[in-house]
């Protein structure tokens, strides 16, 4: 049992991280915030060329031929970098929708009735008749509601959980950085237990979510995916909230990137359908096993 990442998986993760730092750093983030609703097509094609969408497509079909664990690592990095766009929908369309794998075609998905990036998509999977735009709380995710959803694939739930995990990891890092350097009452605020313990709890939630997400990537078992989803949602949303609290007034500003993590985390909790469903599934599993 070697649960930890292999050499290749670590290399893949740092490769994606470096690419995103180069192509979607703080300036790029500010640029897309200045022009919300526009998708950077050049970046999308670069993601395609790097294999982000074709990651799990067999090599015989022009893909990279890797598995769910590798996809989870790539999406974790996307979540960490706040990368915008219908990433999960396009990734799932690779091999099914022409051009999705290479990043030529942007694919959105009706999913649970909440469509992300409808106007920018070249192809939308599912019926969009009667779609109503929302004034999206997340400035980097345009949203529409449609009357009837088509449901969400378990893999989409898992990749969304991976993005949540990346967000949670980033929020914890930001909080710790701030707690180490910001001084009040003559010492770093991270020396105060009230602050220190907030940070410790963020790490505990993040690392517990991490093993749940990675295990689900290995097994693809429905109960593991439900588990990953619940824990990753919690780690991302509460992590962003606590990170905001650690930053004090700064955390409440538009300028500081944290609010984008919180808002995106909220969007992702709805992408996977109601949390109640995951909880009910896991409750039903207990009953089935006790019978």
């Amino acid at each position: 049992m070697r649960f930890q990442l292999t050499e290749d998986q670590r290399a893949l993760r740092s490769g994606v991280r470096e690419m995103l730092a180069r192509r979607f750093g703080p300036e790029a983030l500010r640029a897309v915030l200045a022009e919300p609703g526009r998708l950077d097509r050049a970046l999308w094609r670069e993601l395609g060329a790097a294999g982000f969408f074709a990651l799990r497509l067999p090599e015989a079909r022009g893909g990279v031929g890797l598995g769910l664990p590798e996809a989870v690592l790539a999406f974790e990095e996307a979540g960490r970098a706040l990368l915008p766009g219908p990433l999960v929908a396009t990734h799932l369309a690779a091999g099914a929708v022409p051009g999705a794998a290479t990043g030529e075609t942007v694919v959105a998905d009706v999913g649970n009735g909440l469509v992300e990036w409808l106007a920018e998509a070249d192809v939308v999977r599912g019926a969009v008749a009667g779609a109503v735009p929302l004034r999206s709380v997340d400035p980097l995710t345009p949203l529409h509601r449609v009357p009837a959803g088509t449901g969400v694939a378990p893999v989409a739930v898992l990749l969304t959980a991976a993005e949540q995990l990346g967000s949670a990891t980033r929020a914890c890092e930001l909080a710790v950085q701030h707690a180490r350097t910001r001084e009040q009452f003559g010492q770093p605020i991270g020396a105060f237990q009230a602050v220190k313990h907030l940070c410790a709890e963020m790490l505990v939630r993040t690392e517990t979510a991490r093993v749940a997400v990675y295990a689900a990537a290995v097994t693809a078992h429905p109960a593991d995916i439900d588990t990953a989803r619940l824990l990753a949602d919690e780690a991302a949303v509460r992590g962003a909230r606590d990170c905001l609290q650690v930053h004090g007034g700064m955390g409440f500003t538009w300028e500081f990137e944290l609010h984008l993590h919180l808002k995106r985390a909220w969007v992702r909790t709805h992408r996977a359908g109601p949390a109640t469903e995951s909880e009910e599934n896991l409750a039903a599993e207990l009953l089935a096993e006790s019978a």
Partner: protein, 377 residues
């Protein structure tokens, strides 16, 4: 990322299962919780069976994965807990194995493995709990003996122990971490008085130990004089490794039983309760994965569990309390009846966020040692 076991590990599991299936039905009935001599005999008898079957040193010599399999399978089969052998197998024994002389290892390790001798732990004191380095029990050198006076507290199995792993202050002038020594004290030495302490669950699970001019041979010191703090830290790191494997397996079984009970008594129709049980299922599934993660990491890092154990301990101790609070909601007013299952467990679960490092101390450890936040007051 891989969660599969090697053919050798699968074979170990199969052999263990087969053996457990054979020996467990032949075990004597469990003694009552208040029958201390009976509990000692029962726990030592189980250890002897493990020894005869070649499983006695699984906590010491086996790989972390084999240890995980052992703990998982023995719990699933309903085998006895480590019980009175806990300190010997998981604290004192590993310390002696790592830091003792050849003569000390030969004297103390075989009786632990064979199930002949019980050890207890004399670390905490009334004024040295979370701040263990504040301990004041004094050991004065007199010829070939130390003369020890002071008191220890929260000592499990003190009534039936043969030996106590004892932390004493040998140099009161030194900085407090550098004046401590580790001694093996015979519990039948003159001057040792044990006073049982009753827990809020009603049972006498631990004791106070009073030491009045107790003579302990200098030869019983493990490690150098005044080096006991370092020697002890070797021991404590074992506690947070695979110590809770069996308990996570047990908690998942309790959850299934809770679901069945709720279904039977009608509370299953309550959406809020169902959701809560579903969340607890996610919680304990994740804790199992965290266990596998830590074991796999220990496998890579040479077998000694690291600070990741603090992350697990924090999450687990609170999850266990949530589990038994949910059990109380499943039971309704019957949760007030000590005769019902889970009610005593609910009371016992209250110790989990305190014993072996309170949650507050664990958060300090996580924040300072993993996240690198500064120490403070």
């Amino acid at each position: 990322m891989d969660l599969t076991y090697t053919p050798e590990e699968d074979e170990f599991r199969a052999r263990l299962r087969e053996w457990l299936g054979r020996v467990l039905p032949a075990l004597p009935p469990k003694p009552s919780p208040d029958d201390w001599p009976g509990r000692r005999a029962y726990d030592l008898g189980w250890q002897r069976r493990l020894y005869d079957a070649g499983y006695a040193d699984v906590h010491w010599d086996a790989s972390p994965t084999v240890r995980l399999i052992f703990l998982e399978e023995t719990e699933k089969a309903g085998a006895p807990y480590v019980g009175a052998n806990f300190v010997g197998l998981l604290h004192a024994g590993p310390t002696i194995a790592a830091e003792g002389t050849a003569g000390q290892r030969a004297r103390w390790l075989p009786p632990i493995l064979r199930g002949d001798e019980v050890w207890c732990q004399g670390f905490s004191e009334p004024d040295a709990g979370s701040d263990l380095a504040a301990l004041r029990t004094r050991a004065r050198r007199d010829g070939d003996d130390y003369v020890v006076s002071g008191s220890k507290i929260w000592t499990s199995h003190a009534e039936v122990a043969d030996w106590c792993e004892l932390l004493v202050r040998t140099d009161p002038e030194a900085p407090r971490h550098r004046g401590i020594s580790w001694l093996a004290m015979p519990m039948d030495a003159p001057g040792v008085t044990v006073r049982p302490l009753r827990t809020l669950a009603g049972s006498a699970e631990f004791a106070e130990v009073f030491l009045d001019e107790v003579r302990v041979p200098v030869a019983n010191r493990v490690g150098d004089e005044n080096d006991g703090w370092r020697v002890t830290m070797v021991t404590l790191s074992f506690e947070r490794g695979t110590a809770f494997v069996g308990e996570v397996v047990a908690c998942r079984r309790v959850l299934r039983e809770l679901a069945a009970e709720a279904h039977k008594n009608g509370r299953w129709d309550d959406l809020v309760l169902r959701r809560r049980l579903g969340r607890l299922n996610a919680e304990f599934r994740a804790l199992w994965r965290l266990t596998q993660w830590n074991v796999s990491e220990a496998e890579l890092g040479g077998g000694v569990p690291g600070v990741g154990g603090s992350v697990f301990k924090l999450r687990y101790s609170h999850a266990r309390q949530d589990l038994y609070d949910a059990a109380a909601d499943v039971l309704g007013p019957e949760s007030l009846d000590l005769g019902r299952p889970w009610v005593l467990d609910r009371l016992s679960s209250l110790s989990y966020t305190i014993a072996a490092g309170t949650s507050q101390i664990q958060r300090n450890i996580v924040a300072e040692r993993i996240l690198g936040l500064p120490k403070g007051r």
